[in-house]
Every structure is written in C-alpha cells, then in structure tokens.
C-alpha cells in the first residue's frame, strides 16, 4: 500500500516549481500529441507519481537527513515509468523535490481523512447504456504511421529498455 499523499494539489504545485522549467503553467489536458512524443515529456502527474513512489520507500528515513535515492531504485523507476534522470543533476533535482515534499510530514493529520482530489465530494455522473460513439476506424487508423488491414501494428512484445551505458551513447548528441 503506498502512502496516500495528502494534498495532491499542493504537490502538483511543487512539481511545477521543481520540474523542468518548460512545464510551468501547463496542465495535463493541454499537452498536445506532439508533446507526448517528445523524449523530455514528463507530465506533472508522472512527477507527482514518482515522488509518491519514492515516499513509499523512504517514509522510514528520518526527516532530518537528506534523502539518498539508491541507484537500484533509480534504475527501477526509469524502467517502470520510462523517464530518464539522465545525469547526476537530474538525480539531485529529484532528491531536492523529495526533501521539499517531506515538509508535509510536519503537518498534523490526526483525525483527518485522507483526500485523493479536491473534486472527490462531487457526484459521479452515471451514463445511460446507449451506443453513442465508435464507428470511426478510418479516423483512428490515420493517426498511426504503421497499419495493416485496419489493425494497428506493434512490435512483438515490449522492446526492452536499453541499458544505461547504451542510452548514454544513443543520446550524447541530444539537446540536453
């Protein structure tokens, strides 16, 4: 069970401030499909998520010591979430973000129920079971560059993430 981080909104603000600067003021809904394909795409939710995950592993660590993220964990996070911390600066950034978020533990939440979202008191809308969408195969298939007879084409199975050294070689000419 991961620790449900209270005040998700607060964390989103943190992520905006600490994440790559080009995502200032960007909300998830406005990320265009081009941005999605960009290698540096770290949505704010992914950041929130990563911090949550690291919290799960570091809740035992006392709040007074600076947080050290073990190399195994970094590799695992990169593999699971397909994010790239790239270099020591990236890792230092992550550790600072965790340290900043640790301040949440100072708040006394005894007797307060955890909150998932500021919208959780709203009523969940229930839709009627009538067909209203679909039948747009052509439109959807146009979005993919590789199709065969109305099927999307994918490689067989997941392509394993190249090892760290190989990745470094692949991107040594990249912008960042």
């Amino acid at each position: 069970m991961y620790v449900v981080v209270n005040y998700t909104r607060r964390l989103q603000t943190l992520a905006f401030n600490l994440g790559p600067s080009r995502y200032q003021g960007v909300t998830r809904a406005s990320i265009t499909s081009q941005d999605r394909k960009s290698k540096q795409n770290l949505s704010c939710f992914r950041w929130t998520h990563l911090i949550t995950l690291v919290h799960q592993y570091s809740t035992r660590i006392s709040n007074s010591k600076p947080c050290q993220v073990p190399v195994d964990l970094v590799d695992k996070l990169e593999r699971l979430a397909l994010v790239d911390f790239r270099n020591q600066e990236g890792l230092a950034c992550l550790e600072k973000a965790i340290r900043f978020a640790d301040q949440l533990h100072v708040v006394d939440t005894d007797g307060v129920d955890p909150m998932d979202s500021v919208l959780e008191e709203r009523a969940l809308y229930l839709r009627e079971d009538a067909v209203a969408e679909g039948d747009c195969a052509e439109e959807l298939l146009q979005l993919s560059k590789n199709t065969v007879e109305e099927y999307f084409v994918a490689p067989p199975g997941n392509i394993p993430l190249p090892k760290r050294e190989e990745r470094a070689a692949m991107f040594k000419h990249a912008e960042f």
């Binding site: 067909v131 039948d135 394993p160």
Partner: protein
C-alpha cells in the same frame, strides 16, 4: 525447518501428511452491456477491427472516462447474488504497465476499495463412488471489482509484428477474486460452472468461456496440511471448465514431482496447452511487476445507496444506484431452481443437479412432463438414461437432439395407453432417433410393434415355452423363483417384446404353480 520442525509436525498432525493442492481462482467476467465501461462505444464480438472504438478507448489526449450505470448495477447484482457486502463507497485506481494492447499505459480498476467484498460461492459436484451423490462445498469470494478490459493482440510471427484490435479495449469486466479454498481441478471446475450458471441467470455475463466472456486464471501451489503455503504458480490460457480441471490437476502433479525430486517450485506464470494437457512456462515475463497504483484522478468515489430514502434528495433516479431496487430484481438463482425442481416434481437431488447443469435439459424435461400423462419420475428416467445416453454417445447438446420433447411425450403416451410395452418403447425411441421425420405412431404401425393384446395368443406362447422347458418348470416348483425370469425372457423373445410383461408373468406363475 529441519528435524525439529518434522518432529513438531508429527506430534501435531500424526504421521507425515500427504501433499495436497491449494487452488485459488481469479475470474474475469465480461459484463453483458450495450456499451463499454467508460465510453459509449458498442460492445460486440467479431466486428470489423477497430470499428467499435471511441476516442477515449484509443486513449487520445483530452478524453475522459464516463461511468456506465448498467455496469455498476451488474456488479452490485452479482455481489448480492454471491452474498457479498456491497461497499457504499468504492474508489477507482490506475494500474500502470506498458503493453501495446493497453493504449493508455494504465488500466482503470478498483484496487483499494472495490465495489463488493466478502462473499461466498456455494457449489456442488457429483461425487461418491458411483458419482451420483451431490457433494456441496463453498469457496469464499474475496472481492468483486470493476475494471477495464484490454484490446486484443494478434501475433504474426512470420512478419515479426503484432496486430492490435482495440474493439475489446475498455469493455467492462468484473474481476471475482476467490480465496484459495479449493484443492483440486474437479472442485475448481464445479465452482466455475456454478459461477457461469449464476451469472447467466442474473444476465450480468453470458459466461461463454470459448468466446472469452469468462476468463479464468488459476493460482496453484501444494503443501502439507498445517504447513505454510507453498510457492504458487499462475496458470493462464484456459478456455473451458474441463480444461481448467485438466490444467490444475497437471500442475499439482508437476509440482509434486518437482518437490519429490528435491527441486523447488518457482513462482512463475505458466500457459496451458490444451493439446498435450501440460503447462508450459510463459516467456516474456520481466520478473515481479510493480504496477504503481494511484487513485484515478478523473473519477470521484462511486456511491451506492441502501434505499431510495437514504439517497441524496433532489437527485434524478437515473443518477442513483439503489440496493433495494437491485435486490428486488434478482431472478431465481440455480440453487433455488434445483430445490424447486425437487419439490415440484419429486425427483432426486442428483437428477435436479444434472437438469440445471446441462444447458437446455431442464426446459426439455419440463416440456415433456407438460405434454405427457406419465409421471415426472418416469420422465426423468427417460431423460437421464435414454436421452442423455444417446446425446453423450454422439457428442450432441440438448438443442441438437433429433427427438423433440413433444416426440418423446408421444412415445410415453403410447406406453401409458397400453399400446406398446416398455421395452418396445425404448426400441421406438432408438428408431425415432435415426429417422426423426416420422412419428412414433408411424414407426409402431410400420414395424408392427403394437402390444399383443390377444390373450389366447399369449396363453398359447406361454404354454409352448412351459412345455419345452420342463427342467426350469421343475426348478420353479421346487422353490427357485428366479428361473421364472428366464421363461419370461423366452416368451418376450417369441413375441418380439410386444407382450404385456404383467400379463405374461401372471400366466407363467399360474402355469408353474
């Protein structure tokens, strides 16, 4: 644990116990609804590829999930039928993993707080030495949760590609998680069969395993009673209840063999091969998955209410799911139906079990009973023995039977009217099976199978038999009554089975007294 462990174990449990299997099932049941769980695209089977896909199903940016009311009602109804506690508030989560048939990169499920928990499934199977005793067991249902189905991937090894069809992506599933209360393949198959019958009776899932509407994965391990549970393996790719039993039994045997040869069972996922009956390790599994569960931010909690009075005021009825209403709509469950058949028709529980278990057999039986004056007990004998016998022999289902309930009713009526004897009736049945175009009456007429009612004729034949078998007559007179049956057999052979057995017996008894 070593020797001390063994000694303690022996003291607690007596001599070293046999290894037994521990089986837990995970059932994914596709919800029978018009549209998918979170989008308004149609649910269908074998439609043109990617034609039943909306923008949300294809995970295009800017799309959001909108929950289908019918799916909530289906999950609640299933939970009530399985005696679960329905959680008034349940939550949706995201389960992340990368695979081409999961376009969003995550599946919306209910991991933290599912819609129903703590139920029981009571199932029976025919056990005992002669397989005619109804043995009833139960298995605990840990939880029922709503989740999305993934798309379908077709592997083309020739071109080294996978073709993705998203028609199935987003269809609503109920995942029924069972506690590992079962110990062998037979129990698991019976439990799944009962679940199928319940879901079909409720109308929440059509339960066709071959079409993928009901998918079962088995978690199998072995241990000695009293010990910790052993390492478990997951068995997938099972497409029928019968294969489920085979797969589980094979896996239990395999694990026993591994342990007895000194090896250790590995925690892995194995695929069942229907042709060989073996389980094979599945490649392409990258160790233990970490699904990084997180709350689904686009869906507030799902609330269901006990009664209309407890629902929030001023809300439209279409926006509220009320348990009271769903409970009222629960149809007759299989267990209740079996009991009703026993009480209404006075048949045995094992017969009632078979009637409900076989598709269409109960309707067939009731149709025959309606149209004939023969009693239900007689009819059940015919259905269980004559009808089932030929159906099994020729591997046919009840709907494929060449003899309709009306035709069988006619045969029974002829027998009741005294127009044919019981052995002739069976013969007519066999004939009618081969030539279904004719009626029973026609066959009786054509082959001259009508009951011989001429008592003088019967008298003459009995006399002939008695005269030609003096030794048997002597034996009967000196006390061996069983020999009379032999004489009866001879008379029936003479009359080609058309004589009334009661009359023949009476005449013979009189002659040999």
């Amino acid at each position: 644990t070593g020797r001390t462990g063994d000694r303690t174990r022996n003291w607690l449990w007596g001599a070293p116990q046999e290894l037994v299997g521990v089986v837990g099932l995970e059932i994914h049941a596709q919800i029978h609804s018009n549209t998918k769980l979170f989008s308004g695209s149609r649910v269908g089977f074998q439609a043109p590829p990617n034609s039943l896909v909306s923008f949300f199903d294809a995970s295009l940016p800017g799309t959001l999930p909108v929950l289908n009311r019918r799916c909530v009602e289906a999950a609640v109804m299933t939970g009530l039928a399985l005696n679960c506690t329905i959680n008034r508030k349940s939550l949706f989560d995201r389960k992340h993993y990368f695979y081409a048939d999961l376009p969003a990169g995550y599946q919306i499920t209910q991991q933290r707080l599912p819609i129903a928990v703590d139920g029981t499934l009571t199932y029976s199977h025919l056990g005992g030495r002669k397989r005619n005793e109804v043995v009833t067991k139960s298995v605990r249902i840990k939880q029922i949760q709503l989740e999305q189905d993934s798309g379908k991937s077709l592997h083309n090894d020739y071109r080294n590609q996978t073709l993705i069809d998203l028609n199935r992506a987003g269809v609503g599933l109920m995942e029924l998680v069972m506690e590992p209360d079962m110990s062998c393949g037979e129990e698991a198959a019976a439990a799944v069969r009962e679940m199928q019958l319940i879901l079909q009776a409720l109308g929440t899932c059509q339960g066709n395993m071959a079409e993928g509407q009901l998918r079962v994965d088995a978690n199998v391990s072995i241990h000695r009673p009293g010990d910790h549970w052993g390492i478990r393996t997951e068995v997938k790719n099972i497409n029928s209840a019968r294969n489920l039993a085979r797969a589980i039994d094979y896996e239990i045997q395999r694990q026993m063999f591994v342990l007895e040869s000194g090896g250790t069972v590995q925690n892995e996922t194995r695929s069942f091969d229907g042709k060989t009956g073996h389980t094979i390790p599945m490649r392409d599994k990258e160790g233990l998955q970490d699904y990084r569960f997180m709350p689904e931010p686009n869906l507030p909690p799902l609330m269901v209410y006990e009664a209309c009075s407890t629902a929030p005021p001023g809300v439209a009825p279409s926006q509220v799911v009320v348990l009271e209403e769903v409970r009222e709509r629960l149809p007759e469950l299989p267990s209740v139906r079996r009991q009703r058949l026993v009480e209404t028709y006075g048949i045995l529980p094992e017969h009632s079990f078979t009637l409900v278990n076989e598709d269409g057999l109960m309707d067939y039986f009731e149709a025959v009973v309606r149209e004939t004056k023969a009693g239900p007990r007689k009819v059940i004998g015919w259905v269980m023995n004559e009808l089932q016998g030929l159906l099994h022999q020729q591997n046919l289902s009840v709907s494929q039977s060449p003899i309709s309930p009306q035709a069988l009713a006619q045969i029974l009526n002829l027998q009741e009217n005294g127009q044919i004897s019981s052995s002739i009736a069976k013969q007519v049945f066999q004939e009618l099976w081969k030539t279904p175009g004719k009626t029973a009456q026609q066959i009786v007429k054509e082959q001259d199978l009508g009951m011989v009612n001429d008592s003088t004729e019967i008298y003459r034949i009995c006399q002939k038999v008695v005269d030609s078998h003096p030794d048997q007559v002597q034996a009967i007179r000196s006390g061996n009554k069983k020999v009379l049956n032999k004489l009866m057999g001879l008379v029936q052979k003479e009359t080609k089975g058309r004589a009334d057995p009661v009359l023949v017996r009476a005449i013979l008894e009189q002659k040999t007294s």
